[in-house]
Subunit: 201 residues, 4 copies
């Protein structure tokens, strides 16, 4: 019996599929412009997120490195100081994860440009960000799901627990951003492979 | 212009959608039985993967922790020794990532049960595993995509670079495994939330 | 020419040597009692620190795992929720590292017992901790060195930059704590080796 | 009673103190020349070590970043490919840690220059390295301690368990290397502080 494996995968796939149509083109364009600009100017990108959102952020950061960005991850060894020319990408479904909000406030103080990936533009993280990209989901902190997510799922309670829908959608969205950046920056898969770690764990 | 964001997301979603039908029920059932058994016996689960596959593994490990498993991640601080009662979940699209194969061989020597999540059952990792769960994808090491993936994508070259299709599909698949385990172990979302880190980064 | 290698090593060694005499026996005894008690009750220990202090914390956490503690590190994958029976070990030379103070405040809210390892008992971290263990050093945030450190070094500016003296002293101190715990808990090196990761990176 | 805390700290301090005299000047000079050269040519440095040796490596890598090196850590998110112009610093007391030997072999294949920090020049890691810096210690894999360490400790069994003496000595040694590099590269503490993460965990 692997019924729930298939049903859950189907739910996640249908959720992401509907999000594709509902993406806010202006928000995503702004994000892409800031990232493209950071690449061309050699600015630093600092990616941050807690828990599984942090892992999604790392998966994105790894691809930005493959693309040739000066990208770093909050909490890793070689992350340097950032300043006003630099960009923070902060990922939090609820927009309320305490340490991410605190870190984003610190980034705000040094005048970095903050891009928030969140389901809640009106959250603490959303309000302090320069650019918000709304990715619907269900927060893990509140029992309810946001309005947008409910529209997508209909009346049913989702099978996927906690922040799963947000996290998986954010990963697929950010993988879409990577391909858009490849085209904007004229990078091919061969370029990415050349920078991909040849000794890795 | 965010055309490639949408197109890539659509490609990933369609890919995962087709994988749902093609999942090998026997392989997945075996994996679930081993995991359920490990939970009931209090055995350790050691999750390993390199690069983005390692991040997918961590996202899965975090949910296993929420479910109450004794789960650890290769390379993190508090990972203990494992032995013959324990289970390794090794994730590698190509099944050839050097350090993962070496680590899986070491696990084999101490007689742990090895579950491989890979696109290539006939790879070094696939061959040494006790259970192989095939997740199609495109390897990052070879320019070609595997036969199964080609069937799914048709004749088109995928937009998503390197291991993206494998990694995103593996994440969604493992999130399906989590929901199946919730049902088998009688766990609700409330149980998961109770173990979810309340101080997190 | 490796003159500065030797001189710096000598400086660090002399610094730690003087700290041994100046350790506050009451503070250290309290810390040991709390840790011993946590072990016997099966409470969780959550270790946290930023930058190199965080690495010192991880080195300590790894030994606590070898000793059989339920120990976790802030920011790693499988770190669960903590509560009032649990213990936080927070390491910060200055006692002002923003994210560590924020995390310790969150731990305070859930009523965990907080042990601070810091040069500044009167810092934000020191003030909110239940137990403070003073380890002298030189903070990386202020150009001056604390009074205690100055007494040890005399009038000379230290060679070792930023938080080096604090971090190295904290590591050696915590390794002393490990041996004290081995004796209190009746653990031999053989016991530690049995839990030491057999597949590690 | 904190008797063992003090005794162990004293043992570690005396051990490191004797190592200072016994440092092999030629080995250390070679290491410094390779690192200085890598800095001036903008080559990459890849630091690797398992367990507590890996944490010592990270503490060193963080300082190299503060100094302006292109430095990376095996297993972290943004670690790129390396090639023949690049340098690997591999840390392993026993010189036999499986995954580190495998990773060093992979680095050898791409013709990177390999610096091994180990107690055993004649170990698998020592033999494949281009430069070996001997740091005495006691391995965690064998019950005995190496000849050099025994000379230092005399006939007594050390209090500090497993690899502690090697790891703590390696940290202090590498902090000495950092100060030597500061002088060679004309860097002041102000330069280091400027690159030190301003948002950190």
């Amino acid at each position: 019996m692997i019924e729930y494996v298939r049903k859950t995968m189907k739910e996640i796939v249908m959720f992401i599929d509907k999000v594709i149509e509902k993406l806010n083109e202006e928000q995503v364009s702004l994000m892409l412009d800031v990232l493209e600009n950071a690449y061309r100017q050699g600015s630093k990108i600092l990616v941050m997120g807690a828990g599984r959102s942090g892992l999604v952020g790392r998966a994105f950061a790894m691809r930005l490195m493959h693309l040739g960005f000066n990208v770093y991850v909050l909490g890793e060894t070689i992350t340097p100081s950032i300043g006003e020319r630099d960009v923070v990408v902060a990922i939090s479904g609820s927009g309320r994860t305490q340490l991410i909000v605190t870190a984003a406030e610190a980034a705000k103080k040094v005048k970095a440009t903050i891009i928030a990936i969140t389901s809640y533009p009106d959250s603490p993280l959303g309000r302090l960000a320069d650019i918000v990209v709304e990715i619907p989901g269900r927060t893990k902190l509140a029992p309810d799901i946001d309005y947008f997510a409910r529209q997508i799922l209909g009346i049913h309670e989702p099978l996927a627990p906690l922040g799963t829908l947000f996290e998986d959608t954010a990963l697929v969205f950010l993988d879409g951003v990577v391909v858009e950046l490849m085209h904007r920056l004229g990078k091919s898969e061969v370029d990415l492979r050349a920078r991909h770690a040849n000794i890795e764990l």
